[in-house]
């Protein structure tokens, strides 16, 4: 990862831009991932949580909560027929500190809900049919995604 981690604000702005770009291009994928961050971001000395040989469950009880690394990419690692490395691959990453998890994921959910517009909308037509005349009006609006 050549680029540094983004702040949450930058991450969300660029993620929604990425989602919009995928929709305007008509097809494509976005890969999001999250994992525990066990490397120290401030120094390049290596993992901060060293494996303790005597304790096989060393990672189950770390001394203090660890941050989470969240990444987003457009999955375009290669380009062209020859599958050469794509220099324009979109790679976003951010670090979520333990005390920011709730706030981060609340915004994350909002961004994803807004950005993932290609998914099927809630189909209200079936349920409203049984309820009578109102269903016809509501159904028309709700059927087509």
């Amino acid at each position: 990862m050549a680029k540094a981690h983004l702040t949450h604000d930058q991450f969300f702005t660029q993620l929604s831009a990425l989602l919009t770009a995928t929709h305007s291009s008509g097809h494509g994928s976005i890969h999001l991932s999250q994992k525990r961050l066990t490397f120290d971001t401030t120094s390049s000395s290596g993992p901060t949580t060293d494996k303790i040989p005597d304790d096989p469950l060393w990672d189950l009880h770390p001394p203090e909560p660890l941050p989470i690394l969240v990444r987003a990419t457009d999955g375009k690692s290669t380009k062209g027929e020859k599958r050469i490395k794509n220099p324009d691959k979109v790679k976003l990453s951010t670090v979520v500190k333990p005390d920011e998890i709730e706030a981060f994921f609340a915004r994350y959910a909002e961004v994803c809900k807004a950005g993932m517009a290609g998914l099927k909308k809630r189909d209200r037509s079936k349920r409203k049919k049984g309820k009578g005349k109102k269903g016809a009006v509501g159904g028309e609006g709700g059927t087509k995604a």
């Binding site: 097809h27 994992k35 909560p65 998890i101 709730e102 994921f105 994350y108 994803c112 993932m116």
Partner: protein, 160 residues
């Protein structure tokens, strides 16, 4: 590779996997908008049309590509991969909130969020009720309320 039927089941199994392997397990989410021009998708559409028989013309031309959301929890050390797929927009919010809850396992934070809120609300409510009656019963009500909340948490306690 296990493909789970419901998001709740995926959430539950993933949380168990993350509790067991919080360092190595990772969650990936793939949001895919298929390319309608690609041979692969064309073939799938055609196959689907054939299976449905006479309805070919209806199924063969979806103007808007149908996006798919695929969630995976993968642990490279044990090779466990839990998968869940959906195409419903209504589930996105719930799933991402679920990711946040699973993120707490990764961060090694105690699992409390909603439970704690519920406990607090229950405690406050019971306190308010008890205050009207008698102050002595309040002390009894609070441990009772938090105990009930702890019971609802199930298997989370084993971790510590």
């Amino acid at each position: 590779m296990v493909l789970l039927e419901t998001s709740d089941e995926w959430q539950r199994q993933s949380s168990l996997l993350l509790q067991a392997r919080p360092t190595t397990a990772r969650i990936t989410v793939k949001y895919n908008v298929p390319n309608l021009q690609s041979p692969k998708v064309q073939k799938a559409i055609k196959r689907k049309g054939d299976a449905e028989g006479g309805k070919k013309d209806v199924a063969a031309a979806p103007a808007v590509p149908k996006a798919v959301l695929c969630l995976k929890t993968y642990d490279p050390e044990s090779g466990v991969c839990l998968q869940f797929k959906t195409d419903r927009a209504a589930e996105v919010g719930r799933l991402i909130t679920g990711l946040g809850r699973l993120g707490r396992h990764m961060a090694a934070l105690p699992q409390k969020t909603e439970d704690a809120v519920m406990e607090d609300v229950a405690a406050v409510e019971s306190t308010a009720v008890q205050d009207q009656a008698a102050t002595t019963t309040t002390d009894k009500a609070q441990p009772g309320a938090s105990g009930a909340g702890g019971g609802g948490k199930k298997k989370k306690k084993a971790k510590k």
